[in-house]
């Protein structure tokens, strides 16, 4: 009976989309002398799914785009224009958004994504549609290795790289009995896998005596802490983050889990994760992160000053990633002399550019950037959490040998 209503509604819906006016870009490009109009970059990220990380990231790329356009834009006086979309943390939404950006907005390049599975979905889309994609934040090793493709490049240091940085520090500890706690999905699993392998390589005498795999976002803090303590490890490797980390730290402190035990913890030094812990942040944990307020290199100072002037706050890890991603895109287009996808892809291979962390290069071998991270210890000073005794760990020093990478990456 109501087939007809169905069809009518479908028809109406279709009409609505067909008539859909083009959406104004989030960042309006200033009217530069346009040679063939602005360069359009489609940007997709989990703005509603993970705002705490993605909003600083957005401010970062906004700053980069403003700087690029204020300096006269790209070759030929073309402005850089970004059309941004939310993927709500879902890969299928991200692929749809990518389709829209490509078909309706005619973007020349894709960028962004936070979650690993979303990044992989967009990477696959990019390969199929032969459009360059600069994955900003996904950490999964697969995006540049096992599932790498010719059109996808990744900026942030991968799970492997961060685990390798920590394994190096962990090997210096006297501890031989280790326990691990990690969220039960690919990120947590591969972090633990690499950490174990790399630590064993340096220290054949260590053993892993307990492991906990809480569901992401659903850590049962009390029982988990108790179970770890029961195995009486000498040191703990932690991969939980966000709300789980806060619960873990609180219960762990109250139940004495961290007393006389070393803790090595992935990403915990990043301001996004460290700052919410306030004066309850753990002290003396060995972490990877970003001590924004303490880095005093000229390139970082320039970036941090501009960022603070523009947004009135210190940059976070995501800000650096967003900023550098779009600087890299601009550099690639300049190097390629245009927006031809093959030329831009070729330009991204081996692209060298300055970043707030110092010079980096997108390796031609696996499209992984050599951006590193800071390794140090956590501390609380004047009621504020921060990193101390830190050093910069350059990304290129924490990647496997080229042959091993080639073996993992599909043949192009």
């Amino acid at each position: 009976m109501n087939r007809r209503h169905t069809l009518r509604f479908l028809g109406m819906a279709a009409a609505a989309w067909l008539a859909g006016a083009p959406v104004p870009a989030l960042v309006a490009a200033p009217a530069l002398a346009a040679d063939g109009g602005p360069v359009r970059v489609g940007e997709i990220n989990s703005y509603t799914g993970l705002p705490a990380f993605t909003l600083p990231y957005r401010q970062g790329w906004q700053l980069a785009v403003e700087e690029i356009n204020a300096a006269g834009g790209l070759p030929g006086g073309r402005a850089l224009e970004v059309i941004s979309r939310d993927d709500a943390g879902k890969p299928d939404d991200a692929v749809r958004a990518a389709g829209e950006l490509l078909a309706n907005e005619r973007v020349d390049l894709l960028a962004g994504t936070y979650f690993s599975h979303v990044g992989l979905a967009v990477a696959d889309f990019a390969a199929r549609n032969r459009i360059p994609f600069v994955a900003a934040e996904p950490l999964t090793d697969a995006i540049t290795w096992q599932k790498g493709n010719p059109y996808t490049f990744r900026l942030r240091p991968s799970t492997y790289m961060q685990a390798a940085m920590l394994a190096e520090e962990a090997a210096k500890l006297p501890a031989t009995r280790w326990a691990t706690v990690a969220p039960n999905y690919e990120y947590g699993q591969s972090a633990v896998k690499w950490f174990r392998a790399l630590l064993k390589e340096r220290r054949p005498d260590v053993e892993f005596v307990a492991e906990q795999w809480p569901a992401q976002g659903k850590l049962e803090a009390g029982p988990t802490v108790q179970a770890l303590a029961a195995a009486s490890p000498e040191a703990i490797f932690n991969v939980t983050f966000g709300a789980d980390l806060a619960k873990f730290v609180r219960e762990g402190e109250q139940r004495g889990l961290f007393r006389n035990r070393a803790v090595v913890s992935l990403l915990t030094g990043e301001p996004e994760y460290l700052e919410p812990l306030r004066d309850e942040a753990p002290e003396g944990w060995i972490v990877t992160g970003y001590p924004a307020e303490q880095i005093d290199t000229p390139e970082h100072r320039a970036f941090a000053d501009a960022y603070r002037k523009r947004f009135g706050e210190w940059p976070k890890q995501g800000s650096v990633v967003g900023y550098t991603t779009f600087k890299a895109i601009a550099a690639a287009i300049t190097k390629a002399g245009g927006t031809d996808p093959e030329a831009v892809t070729a330009a991204l291979k081996g692209l060298e550019l300055p970043s707030p962390f110092g010079p980096i290069v997108f390796r031609a071998l696996d499209h992984q950037a050599t951006m590193g991270a800071y390794v140090g210890r956590t501390a609380v000073r004047g009621g504020k959490p921060m990193m101390v005794d830190w050093r910069y760990a350059p990304g290129e020093a924490y990647l496997p040998p080229d042959d091993a990478v080639r073996a993992m990456r599909p043949v192009e």
Binding site: R3, L7, P51, A103, H117, K218
Partner: protein, 622 residues
Amino acid sequence: MDFYFVQFLSGLATAATLFLVSSGLTVIFGVTRIVNFAHGSFYMLGAYVAWSLVERWGDTPPGFWGGVLLAAVTVGVLGAVMEVVLLRRLYRSPELFQLLATFGVVLIVQDAASWLWGPEDLLGRRAPLLRGSVEVLGQPFPLYDLMLIVLGPLVLVALLLLFHRTRWGTLVRAATRDREMTAALGVDQAKLFTSVLFLGSALAGLGGALQVPREAVNLHMDMAMVVEAFVVVVVGGMGSLPGAFVASLLIGQLQAFGILVFPQITLVLVFLFMAVVLVLRPYGLFGRPEEGPPAGEAPGPPLRPDGPRAATVSLVLLAALAAVPLVAGDYALIVLTEVVILALLASSLHLLTGLGGLVSFGHAAWFGLGAYGAALLVRDAGAPMLPALAAAPLVAGLGALVAGWFCVRRSGLYFAMLTLAFAQIVWSVTFQWYAVTGGDNGILGVWPADWASSKAVYYELTLLLAGGTLWLLRRAAFAPFGYALRAGRDSALRAEAVGIDVRHRQWMAFTLAGACAGLAGGLYAFAHGSVFPTLMAVPVSVDALVMVLLGGLRTLAGPAAGAALFHGLETEAMRLTDYWRLVLGLVIVVLVLAFPQGVVGFARSLWDRRRGGNGSAAEPVA
């Protein structure tokens, strides 16, 4: 031994929070029969409000506890407001419609909380005087957790006293037993419902407020809690306070000891437990059979078959849809392809919910199984697109056949939660079985065959397959099978009496619905080129249900229209604003209030009114 005792205590502390929240849910459900998705949102609001108050005044014990109580009361008031402004207007609609309204509230609260409190996790103060820990059998144990362990039973006793020693409590219990009779005796239902919503929401708010010293308040607390609270309520038996208490204790211990024995499957342990309980005990541990669970649909005017004119119009419109690629761009076709696929998904759910009266919370499982079936064939067997698409409904149908056998033995919310349990089991297997499914990183490279790689061709293919299946579903609705299914929905007893094997029909409907959802899943996989466990996660099941309800349960076209409306709204709002959840939530609430029979149901009654008939017009209408 000492260690196990402390682990047991930790389990008790978890159970206390769980009990506070689920007791509120079970009281609300017992009296109003509302499946209140917004309960988790009230829990989250309780935590946020308490965080703000405790930040300000939480240094002293009176300040802290005053803040916690004030937060609970505030949230209770919000719950009462939701009842007065929204739910009260819906008591005459099908019961499930209130579910849709509360889903709208969930979306609104998510964005409102993000706007008011910001996106970052908020770590609140710890309770004064309860910051440290005590030694229990040589193991340090947080004082605050000890307090929670004591508080749980105290709240239970207080609630039992309230329900057994006050006039109001007696009325609530009476309404839980028999709502109509209570009303007939002159009890003001509206006031009773408002006060129950107040109490239930305040309990959720209290549960949330008490979490402030334990964890960082964050924007994902609502969904994390609401599903678990439903599990507790169903395991305990709906409407039963002691049931909720016992179930909370069991689940708290399950989690405490489960991580020792199976640290890898914490994801699914709770759902496995619920499935086992429901298979063994039809009404949970303490539920009573006479508590009529919500039917998917109250007996309404029967479905009417098409006349010849309607068939012509259908064909013309189908032709028009098929002609869209002549004028539309690629993106319009991408979205339209998704709309057609989701229309199939929603219609398959409607077969269960609208015709069978069975509400499924786990329909995404079959959608996802179909998608994975197709994707695995492509990846591992190198199958071409069409055979992979053909396999999708078979894989999903097979899964539904097995799960259905268990599920149709239960009814109402017990059925719904059992489908949810199966969906979660399927989801977690997919999520964790890396070797085969690729885990959360999914399966990539599931693109259409070369001949179908253009958006237009794939759209036409989708239209053909989904349209054909929709037509078959229609036929099924008017075949003896469909009549028998509807008979079982409207009166299972009478249907059995005339010789219909109701359970068997429902089982077959479950399988058919699963197979159709599987086909939709297969089509969806090729449309996106990749599959991920998110395809079978809870939000997809909820979305499917929302589409069905938005369109209306009483018409066959409703689900398809609901799918178009919901998906169109969502994609457009997401494209245009960061506050798309707020927009979507508000639109749903407005639609629910304006069209309590669903959009198509409304169109239908308008049509009937214009023709001066009441649905029995001589000439059948479309």
